[in-house]
C-alpha cells in the first residue's frame, strides 16, 4: 500500500512538472500575472491611495477584505489551540516524561533579555507604523512584539510573565485587534461608504479621500499587530505548558 501511494505521488508530481510547460516563463514580463492587474496597481496605487508601498496598498486596501479574514484566521487558530489544549483541569500528572526543567537562575540570559526586550518592542512599533511606506506592517510588527513577550517568558519563567501579561488580557487584545480592523470597516459603512471603504473617513478626519486611504491602512495595520502579537504569545503559552499554564518554560 505504501509503495502504491508513493508511486501515485511520484506520478502526480511528474504530471504537475509536465504541466509547467504550458505555464508562462519564470519572470516573463508579458505573462498574465505580470501584465494584467499588477500594471494597474503599479501605475495607479499611489495616485489612488497615497501609499508608496504597493504591496501594502494591495494587501490592506484593494484586497483589504481578504486581509481582514487573514487576521481572523490568526485569531481563530489561537482560539482553536486554546479550546483544544486548555480543557478542564487534569486530575493526574501529564504523561510528558522529559519536560525541560529550569534549574537555578541564569543571570546572563535574564540581563540580555532585559536589555533586548525594550528595543525590540520599540522596533516593532516602527515596523508597524512604517508598513505603508517601507517593508513591514502589522503582521511583521506583531510577530516582533509577540516574540518580545516570548523572550521574556523564556528568560524568566511562564508564571512571572503571566503576572505581567495575564491570559485574559492576551485574549482581550487578540479579539480587540480584529475588532479594530472590522470596526474601521464598519465605521466607513456608517459614514456612507461600503465596508472597508476608507475614503469615507476623509470627511471625518478633515483630509482628502485619497489621504484617508493611507490613514485607514495604518489603522488596520495596528489592528493586525494587536491580534498577531496576542496570538503569538497565546500559542506559546498553551503549547509550552501543554495547556495548563502552570509549568513548562
Amino acid at each position: 500500500m505504501k509503495r502504491l501511494t508513493l508511486f501515485l505521488v511520484v506520478l502526480l508530481g511528474a504530471y504537475l512538472v509536465w504541466t509547467t510547460q504550458d505555464l508562462p516563463d519564470w519572470g516573463d514580463p508579458a505573462s498574465p500575472a505580470n501584465s494584467y492587474l499588477s500594471t494597474h496597481y503599479i501605475k495607479k496605487a499611489y495616485e489612488e491611495t497615497s501609499v508608496p508601498n504597493l504591496v501594502t496598498a494591495v494587501l490592506a486596501d484593494y484586497r483589504g477584505y481578504d486581509t481582514m479574514f487573514e487576521t481572523v484566521v490568526v485569531f481563530c487558530a489561537g482560539l482553536a489551540v486554546l479550546t483544544i489544549l486548555r480543557r478542564t483541569k487534569r486530575k493526574h500528572k501529564k504523561n510528558v516524561k522529559f519536560r525541560p526543567q529550569r534549574e537555578g537562575v541564569d543571570i546572563i540570559l535574564q540581563n540580555a533579555a532585559r536589555l533586548m526586550i525594550a528595543p525590540m518592542q520599540l522596533f516593532a512599533l516602527y515596523v508597524i507604523a512604517h508598513g505603508h511606506h517601507s517593508p513591514g506592517g502589522g503582521f511583521q510588527g506583531g510577530v516582533i512584539l509577540g516574540a518580545s513577550f516570548i523572550l521574556l517568558a523564556l528568560a524568566y519563567d511562564l508564571k512571572s510573565t503571566l503576572r505581567r501579561f495575564k491570559e485574559n488580557t492576551v485574549l482581550f487584545y487578540s479579539g480587540l485587534g480584529v475588532l479594530i480592523y472590522a470596526g474601521i470597516g464598519v465605521i466607513s459603512l456608517v459614514l456612507g461608504g461600503n465596508f472597508l471603504a476608507y475614503a469615507a473617513w476623509g470627511g471625518l478626519l478633515g483630509i482628502s479621500e485619497v489621504e484617508a486611504h493611507s490613514y485607514g491602512m495604518l489603522g488596520v495595520e495596528i489592528g493586525v499587530a494587536f491580534t498577531v502579537m496576542a496570538i503569538m504569545f497565546s500559542l506559546y503559552l498553551d503549547l509550552a505548558s501543554g495547556g495548563d499554564l502552570d509549568e513548562g518554560l
Binding site: 504541466t19 509547467t20 500575472a33 501584465s35 484593494y62 482553536a80 475588532l179 464598519v186 459603512l189 476608507y198
Partner: protein, 499 residues
C-alpha cells in the same frame, strides 16, 4: 440605505458578535448566549432582506468591498443561487443557536464563550464562502470555516481528538488542492475575480490549455474532499459522529452543502457548461462515482448501530445525490440538486436535532436508546419521523420532490444507473427508518421475554430544543408544499445557460 449594505451585513454581524463574546462575555454564559443569538438573528434578517432584493430584481447584486471596482478589488456577488443558500445557512445557524442553549452548557461547561466565538466565526466563514465573487477570497473563508470547525469538532465525545486530527490532515490537503488549482488559474489569467476569470477562460486557447484543465481538476478534487464525496469521505463519519450535539447540528448539515454550492459556483460561474461537459470528458465517470457514493453510503448506514453514525452515512449518500444531479448534464437534474441543497440542510438538521435531544435525555446514541421514544419523547419522535420520511422521500415532504427531479433528470439523459442508485437508497432508507420506528413504537417490552411492562415516563427535552426542532420539521413540509413556488422563483434562475 441599510438594504444596500445587507450582503456584507450577513457575515459581518456574526463576526462582530463572535468578537464581542471574546471581549465581554468571559464571565457570563447567558451573555454569550444572548450575543450569539443577536448575531444569528441579525445575519438571518440580512439574508432575508438580500433574498427579497434578489427575488424582486432580476440582476445579481454586486457589492464592492472597499469601494474598489472589480477586478481590482473584491466583490460579493449575490444571485438567486447563493441568496437561497445564504438564507438557508443563516436560518439553520439561527435554529442551532437557539437549540444550543441547553446542550453547550452540558457538553463544554468550561469554555462556553470560546465555543460560541468559534461558532460565530464558523458561520461567518461559511456565509462568506457563499457570498463572495472572488476565487481567492473563497479560500480565505474556507480556511476560517475549516479552522473553527476543527476546534469545535475536537471538543467532542470519545476519540474526537483523533478523528479531528485525521480531518485536519485531510482537510488541509483538500484546501491545498483548491489553492493550487486557483494558482493555476491565476498564473494563466492574472485575475481572481470569478466573473473576470470566466470571461478569460471562455477563449479557445484557454479551453485547450493543459494547466487550466489541471487547475479545474485540482479545484474540484479539493472541494470533493471538503464535502466528503465518495472515495474521499474517510474522515467524515468518525469526525461528525463523535462531535458534540450542537457541533454536529451545526456542521453536519452545513459544511457539506456549502461545499456543494462552491462546486456548482466554480463549475458554472468560473468555468462553463460547455467547458465542464464538452471540453472535459469525465461527466459519465463522475455520475458513476456518485452512484457508488449513494449505494455505499446507504449500505454503510444500514450497518450502523449508532444513530449519529447512521446519520453521517446518510449525509454521505446525500452528497452523492447532489454531485450526481449536478453532473447529470440536464436541467431537471440540476434543479433537483439545487433544490436538494435546501431541503437536505433542513432534513439533516431536523434529524441531528432529534438525535441530539435523545442523547441529551438518555446520554446514549445507540439504536437501543430509541426504545419507547414515542411514549417518552413524543415531540422529538414526531420530528424524527418527519425528518426520516423526508430522507426516504415520502410526499409531501421535500425529500420526495428533490428525488423526483433528480430521477427525471436521470431518465431524460438515459443514465438509468443513477436512477437505480436513487431508488435503491430510498429503499434502504425506508428499511433504516422503519427499523427505528419499530424499536421506538413497538419494542416497549423487556428483552428477557417475560413480558414485563417497562415503564416509560414522559420526559421530553426542554422547550429551547423542541422549538427549533419543530420549526425544522415544519419547514420540511412547507418546502415540500411550496415546491413549485421555490422552483419557479429561485431554482429556475439558477440553471446555467446552455444546460
Amino acid at each position: 440605505m441599510m438594504s444596500a449594505q445587507a450582503p456584507i451585513l450577513i457575515l459581518l454581524i456574526p463576526l462582530l458578535c463572535g468578537l464581542a463574546i471574546t471581549l465581554v462575555a468571559q464571565k457570563s454564559k447567558n451573555l454569550a448566549f444572548f450575543l450569539i443569538l443577536i448575531g444569528m438573528i441579525g445575519s438571518f434578517s440580512a439574508a432575508c432582506s438580500t433574498l427579497i432584493q434578489v427575488l424582486q430584481g432580476s440582476a445579481p447584486i454586486h457589492y464592492r468591498l472597499g469601494g474598489w471596482p472589480p477586478p481590482f478589488g473584491i466583490e460579493l456577488v449575490i444571485d438567486h443561487l447563493n441568496a437561497m443558500v445564504l438564507f438557508i445557512v443563516s436560518g439553520s445557524a439561527l435554529l442551532t443557536a437557539v437549540y444550543s442553549r441547553n446542550t453547550v452548557i452540558v457538553e463544554i461547561p468550561d469554555r462556553v464563550h470560546h465555543y460560541y466565538t468559534l461558532y460565530a466565526l464558523l458561520v461567518s466563514g461559511l456565509l462568506g464562502m457563499v457570498a463572495t465573487g472572488d476565487a481567492f477570497n473563497l479560500y480565505v473563508l474556507l480556511e476560517i470555516s475549516a479552522l473553527s470547525s476543527y476546534a469545535l469538532l475536537a471538543r467532542g465525545r470519545g476519540l474526537a481528538y483523533l478523528s479531528t486530527f485525521k480531518y485536519i490532515i485531510i482537510g488541509t490537503i483538500g484546501a491545498s488542492f483548491y489553492l493550487l488549482g486557483v494558482g493555476y488559474l491565476y498564473i494563466k489569467t492574472g485575475t481572481l475575480n470569478m466573473a473576470d476569470l470566466s470571461q478569460m477562460l471562455a477563449s479557445p486557447d484557454m479551453k485547450e490549455s493543459v494547466s487550466i484543465k489541471t487547475g479545474f481538476v485540482l479545484i474540484i478534487i479539493g472541494v470533493w474532499v471538503k464535502m466528503g464525496f465518495f472515495p474521499l469521505h474517510g474522515w467524515l463519519p468518525n469526525c461528525y459522529s463523535r462531535a458534540s450535539t450542537t457541533t454536529s447540528c451545526l456542521i453536519a448539515p452545513l459544511m457539506t452543502k456549502v461545499s456543494i454550492y462552491v462546486m456548482i459556483r466554480l463549475m458554472f460561474s468560473v468555468f462553463s457548461v460547455d467547458y465542464v461537459f464538452n471540453t472535459l470528458q469525465f461527466q459519465q465517470a463522475v455520475v458513476w462515482m456518485a452512484c457508488i457514493a449513494i449505494v455505499a453510503g446507504s449500505i454503510s448506514a444500514l450497518a450502523q448501530q449508532d444513530l449519529k453514525r447512521m446519520l453521517c452515512y446518510i449525509v454521505l449518500a446525500e452528497v452523492g445525490y447532489m454531485v450526481g444531479g449536478v453532473w447529470l448534464m440536464n436541467s431537471n437534474g440540476f434543479a433537483g440538486a439545487v433544490y436538494h441543497i435546501m431541503s437536505d440542510v433542513m432534513m439533516t438538521l431536523c434529524l441531528f436535532m432529534a438525535v441530539g435531544a435523545v442523547i441529551y435525555k438518555t446520554g446514549d446514541s445507540s439504536l437501543e436508546s430509541m426504545r419507547g421514544i414515542f411514549r417518552k419523547m413524543p415531540v422529538t419522535a414526531t420530528a424524527f419521523l418527519i425528518g426520516g420520511f423526508s430522507i426516504i422521500g415520502i410526499p409531501p415532504t421535500c425529500g420526495f420532490f428533490s428525488k423526483w427531479y433528480l430521477i427525471t433528470g436521470a431518465v431524460e439523459t438515459g443514465q438509468y444507473h443513477f436512477m437505480i442508485a436513487l431508488l435503491f437508497s430510498s429503499l434502504v432508507n425506508a428499511v433504516l427508518f422503519f427499523r427505528i420506528i419499530e424499536i421506538g413504537f413497538f419494542n416497549r417490552f423487556d428483552d428477557s421475554g417475560h413480558g414485563i411492562h417497562q415503564k416509560f415516563e414522559f420526559s421530553e427535552a426542554p422547550v429551547m430544543m423542541l422549538a427549533p426542532m419543530l420549526i425544522c420539521a415544519a419547514s420540511l413540509l412547507v418546502i415540500g408544499l411550496y415546491t413549485s413556488f421555490i422552483l419557479r422563483n429561485i431554482v429556475q434562475w439558477t440553471i446555467p445557460a446552455g444546460l
